[in-house]
């Protein structure tokens, strides 16, 4: 190829996933009307572009929030102790535990339900009752822990079981710290698992938020998630805009209930992804912080500037991992983790190299934890806050991402807000179109994935899959039978009636859940009771991409 042609190809336009064109280099001209005070602020100062803490990572490094969970509660308990041994820890030396629940639990079903037949204990831990919670947290200090209850629609019920466990162990509720995901609307859009009709979903969310504001001052009440959005195939701007738009909707619902924004919005946190395009991802995070700060303070008039400080838990993007040549994933995750810490996240979950294929093996999860420790202790990242601040490229890209994000939020607001946009299928259509577009880029070789469509080794995909205990379901079912035999079933009946009453009359659902948990009602029984009153939201017809003409880079 001659030099001229080569130069032409290299000078071809380049774009980020959100469609932002990239110059060959950036200068002061690109930041002509840029104001340090207004657009950036120092780290820890409104609008938090440079991070939410003035000390950066000098005080506390980010927490190792590697999500995990599988099998019986005692299996997960064992894996938790293993990763603690490998160095995983939460803020201030607390125990951090980020728990994934199995599909039946996530949908509010017990392990003995026929629909759960193939999935008990797969992809997450099973929890059927307060007894299982006791096993899950065996030997772990509930009063010195940051727990992540990563579960949405039945999330409040799981939280109620956690509170009930603390009550039984004599631990004051004020010492309980962590987060409950509590985001049924996310479930609908990104994973099609069970939710209540949108109005009742909001009701369920707000009930839990209210309870936490009153009873659990150190528990965060909601995770607004972009990660799942991204995994479905969205662009970076969509990944940031959707949870922000959802946040607006939930704020409105809470304000209607008589809460003031400074009571609760500071207890929201965000769950984001770190994908391939290194600088777009960093810009996305910095821009997102700025937008959320403006939403809380300017749109909703928060009096305390800290209310709009976006706390971020980030997981390196699972869908960038390849089944081919799994060891390559270590490099991918390291780069993504580095980017996330440069962007200043509070909590980081690094994927394991075999995670494209199975639940992480012990060996692989250890590498994932050590990756974080290497970044923390060997790179000097923790010495200076927001090291990329002031880069012509990064600041310009941050500004352009902010514009894109606002555009999407305003489009959603124009359609009546997140819930209405969800109900009309608009949001899903956008996601499906974006997902299709990104897959076609891979198919057409426009997006290169090393080992998959370029630099391919012709080796079979061999790995030692995670071995599930085949008796998991059997044991769980037996335990349920035993539980139902031992307990006072009349008390359970009354407690379930109370749950239904609370749902009908607008009373406190959380209080009813806690009483039911203490009476040894199962998750399925409690969730079933609420579902009876609230109903279930089902997809009418699946949404497919229309025949959208896609072009690389233009959105």
């Amino acid at each position: 190829m001659n030099k001229k042609a080569e130069k032409e190809i290299n000078a071809k336009e380049r774009y980020t996933t959100s469609g932002i064109p990239l110059k060959i280099y950036y200068t002061t001209d690109d930041l002509e009307n840029f104001s340090y005070r207004e657009n950036l602020g120092n780290p820890g100062e409104y609008p938090y572009t440079r991070g939410i803490y003035p000390m950066g990572y000098r005080h506390f490094a980010w927490q190792q929030g590697n999500i995990m969970g599988f099998g019986l509660p005692e299996d997960t308990n064992k894996r938790q102790k293993y990763i603690m041994g490998a160095g995983a820890q939460s803020y201030g030396g607390k125990v951090g535990m980020n728990i994934a629940f199995d599909n039946p639990t996530v949908n509010g079903y017990d392990s003995d339900h026929p629909l759960a037949k193939y999935e008990v204990g797969k992809g997450g831990v099973l929890i059927d009752s307060l007894e299982d919670m006791d096993r899950l947290f065996d030997g772990l200090p509930l009063d010195n822990m940051n727990v992540g209850l990563i579960i949405d629609t039945p999330g409040p019920i799981i939280l109620a079981m956690y509170v009930a466990l603390a009550d039984l162990r004599g631990i004051p509720r004020s010492k309980l710290s962590g987060v409950v995901r509590n985001n049924p609307l996310a479930r609908w859009l990104f994973s099609k698992t069970s939710i209540f009709p949108p109005k009742n979903s909001l009701r369920s969310m707000v009930d839990c938020i209210k309870f936490c504001v009153q009873e659990l001052p150190n528990m965060n009440v909601l995770i607004l998630d972009g990660y799942d959005c991204r995994e479905v195939g969205s662009t970076a701007a969509q990944e940031m805009a959707y949870p922000l738009a959802k946040g607006i909707e939930v704020i409105r619902a809470c304000l209607k209930e008589g809460l003031t924004i400074d009571d609760f919005a500071g207890k929201f946190s965000f769950f984001l992804s770190f994908y391939n395009h290194f600088f777009e991802e960093i810009a996305k995070i910095r821009a997102g912080r700025r937008v959320w700060a403006k939403i809380c303070s300017e749109k909703f008039g928060a009096k305390n500037a800290k209310t709009g400080a976006m706390r971020i838990h980030l997981q390196t993007a699972g869908s960038t991992l390849t089944a081919q040549e799994p060891l390559n994933n270590i490099a991918r995750v390291a780069v993504q983790a580095l980017g996330a810490t440069l962007a200043g996240v509070q909590s980081l979950s690094t994927c394991s190299y075999d995670e494209a294929l199975c639940i992480p093996s012990e060996k692989a999860v250890r590498v994932a934890i050590k990756t974080q420790k290497i970044i923390e202790h060997e790179t000097g990242i923790c010495d200076v806050a927001d090291p990329l601040g002031g880069s012509y490229y990064v600041e310009t890209l941050t500004n352009e991402m902010e514009e894109k994000i606002w555009k999407i939020i305003n489009e959603i607001e124009k359609r009546g807000g997140f819930v209405k946009a969800m109900e009309t299928g608009y949001l899903e259509q956008e996601l499906v179109n974006a997902s299709f577009r990104s897959q076609m880029e891979i198919e057409e070789g426009k997006k290169i994935i090393v080992g998959v469509n370029k630099y391919v080794e012709n080796e079979p995909i061999m790995y030692a899959p995670f071995t599930y205990n085949p008796k998991t379901r059997e044991i769980a079912v037996e335990r349920l039978l035993e539980l139902k035999r031992k307990r006072d079933n009349k008390k359970v009946e009354e407690a379930i009636e109370n749950v239904k009453n609370a749902a009908c009359t607008g009373g406190s659902l959380m209080a009813a859940y806690i009483e039911a948990a203490k009476a040894w009602a199962t998750l399925g029984e409690i969730y079933g009771a609420v579902k009876e009153v609230f109903g279930e939201y089902r997809e009418e017809t699946p949404i497919f991409p229309r025949q959208v003409k896609w072009q690389v880079g233009r959105v």
Partner: protein
């Protein structure tokens, strides 16, 4: 004279709702000249067998990411045979370890297993082969 189009059912079982791949394949096969029926999520295996019979499909494509492939295929075959349609072909995709492929193919008669990253063009060719269509 056109050949009868190949009819394919794309299905997901139980609570496994990660449908990004399944939807992509469904549209890809349709664009590749087949008639595709998509079951959506939350289907029991029995329901999938029922839909397959009702829609008179040639092939059932199962998308499974929850390690339940062997059990699901075994039960699906049983339900199909009960309905007298044991000849409907089964193919699988998703997350399936290489170790389980012999069990699926030799013991349970699965016609093809697709690993992640298989290019769409190849998927279409291989599905046509399963359906004995050129």
């Amino acid at each position: 004279m056109g050949q009868r189009k190949l009819r394919v059912l794309i299905a997901k079982t139980g609570f496994d709702a990660h449908d990004r791949g399944a939807k992509f394949i469904a549209v890809g096969l349709r664009d590749g000249g087949m008639e595709v029926v998509y079951t959506g999520c939350f289907q029991t295996v029995e329901a999938i067998a029922g839909i397959a019979v009702q829609e008179d499909v040639d092939i059932i494509g199962l998308s499974i990411l929850t390690s339940s492939h062997v059990d699901v295929v075994r039960d699906l075959k049983r339900f199909l045979e009960d309905k007298g349609r044991g000849e409907i072909k089964i193919i699988c995709g998703g997350i399936i370890p290489q170790q389980d492929v012999p069990v699926l193919k030799e013991e349970l008669g699965v016609c093809d297993v697709f690993f992640p990253g298989t290019p769409l063009k190849e998927v279409i060719e291989r599905v046509r082969k399963v359906g004995n269509v050129t």
